[in-house]
């Protein structure tokens, strides 16, 4: 099997906040298409993580190929900052907002549910989907596959993910699947590509199989 890992995207520093904002909008849109609306913050961060590790299945570059391994699951501070800005600008609605102490991490984290203010963002989302068709398809299929997780599993399923749960990285260390380390260490991508090795599967098919397997691991260990 050939292996052509995608390098993470290189972004101009001044454009990062804008790209993070767009990222939030397209993730919320994909989750809404899958019926996951309003979206819990944890699910949004988790889908962002799964999109990063699984984007090479679609031969797309990860938005971010590293993150801090936290005991409570994936959390991207920059993504949360982008969400907060979008809420402040009135493009995203936040509900049931509270700051809750995460004991294992000895820090507070936002607990809220989000939904797009559709009339204000639809035109931008439509344009984005036209320009980045493959990415839009990837995120839509990923969110649909992700939606098979139960409400209790949403936001904590990644703790069983092939890359996130790998013990080669300790808690509070950096999980790197292509930023500085070899993309071959993206075990999630590797596992997704391992399904039915003798058959030629569609990339989206691998997402559903991966999320089905993840769901089983979360349910049964």
């Amino acid at each position: 099997m050939t292996f052509a890992p995608e390098q993470p995207r290189k972004m101009e520093p001044e454009l990062v906040p804008r790209q993070q904002a767009v990222r939030v909008l397209v993730l919320l849109d994909a989750l809404a298409q899958a019926g996951l609306v309003p979206t819990p913050a944890r699910a949004l961060h988790e889908l962002a993580y799964l999109a990063n590790v699984l984007s090479p299945v679609f031969e797309l570059a990860p938005f971010d190929a590293k993150l801090l391994k936290r005991p409570s699951g994936p959390y991207y501070p920059e993504l949360q900052q982008a969400i907060d800005h979008l809420v402040g600008r009135g493009l995203v609605d936040a509900r049931n907002v509270e700051y809750r102490l995460v004991k294992e991490e000895k820090r507070y984290r936002v607990v809220a549910s989000y939904r797009l203010r559709r009339p204000l963002v639809q035109a931008a989302l439509t344009r984005h989907a036209q320009v980045y068709q493959e990415e839009a398809l990837f995120l839509r299929e990923l969110a649909a596959a992700y939606s098979v997780l139960s409400d209790a599993q949403l936001g904590c399923a990644a703790l069983e993910d092939a890359r996130y749960a790998d013990t080669s990285v300790d808690q509070n260390d950096v999980i790197d699947f292509g930023e500085y380390e070899s993309p071959a260490n993206n075990f999630s991508r590797n596992a997704a590509m391992a399904f039915a090795p003798s058959r030629q599967l569609e990339p989206a098919e691998r997402l559903y199989l991966y999320l089905d397997h993840l769901g089983r691991r979360v349910a049964h260990g």
Partner: protein, 359 residues
Amino acid sequence: MADPTDNAGAWQKDLPAIKSTWLTGKGSDTDLPEAVRFLRAVRLLVIERERLPECEFDRAAAMVLVSGTFYENTQGLTRCPFLNTGKDPLTGQVHYLGVSASGRSRVYVGGDGDLLDALAADQADALPTVVYTPKKGGHSKLSWYPSGTRSLDNVHVFPVVFEEPTPALITLAIEGVYQGELKTPDGVPSEAKLWANASKGWASDKAEARVQRAVRIGLHARFPHCRIKAEQPEKDGRTDLEVVGDFGVSPDATTNFAVLEMKVLREKGSTGNDYAPSTITAHIKEGVNQAYTYGTDRKFRDRMLCCFDMRAVNEGPEPVYSAVKSEAETLGVHLCFWYLYRSSKHYRECKTAAALKAG
């Protein structure tokens, strides 16, 4: 170089199970139109549910294809994450779903009329909908309303049964596509047109690819439990369409049902260039050879040659296949034939002439 898929991190011990996973077919159809994907997912879901002994047959259900906006604007729906596995009850509810048949549901109270009222109350009666009418003993029906239940006349009914793709049923599925989309150019969108200039009989240079795509979509809709593969290259060449049963079975129980070779018979090309009768005969003969070779090399149960005749005169299948009929019988290649009219007027003229000839 080591195969990176052998390094699955925390899932390393799961690799044997991962490699022998039963395929579900979910996500295998992303290039199809949304309505086709949805209909296919709903049919699979209902077939899956009816396989279970606890399946309910009490009341009707509706499955509606919706977008994210619908979920954002509709209150009181319950998320059913396991719905598209067939594990959750379907009847007595309206299900608002995406293309992969997952989404949110609501219970309705009453009979069939109340189901339609519930859809109207949710402003969903103009959205593509499948109404599931369950009946024990394999008699359930799925009524597909592509324009919603507001347009009750625009309906197609499908049985809820697992149909094995035999040559007869495949032919029936293609006949449906032919009647609905291919027979005449009327109402065909420009991106699907088979004619470069229909009045002059000039076939589009994309005619074969477009016929293939239409047939592929039709086969997907008829056989939702099968993978319909197009353009599969091997040492022996490239197949046009393959019907493969690899969903819901162990990897070693895959069935290669049928290989279809598609041929468009044209006497004028897209710029008016002529195709000699001998060239067309050779084209048909080549189709028989291809269907036989692919079928035997790749171990398909059935081999079919499907010809779509775009020539000026409809001679029918007998004269068209006369040169290869005996050969095809010996090689076990099923011969199918459809005639493509140049306009609805051309169709009416041919039909009238045939009736007069028959007396």
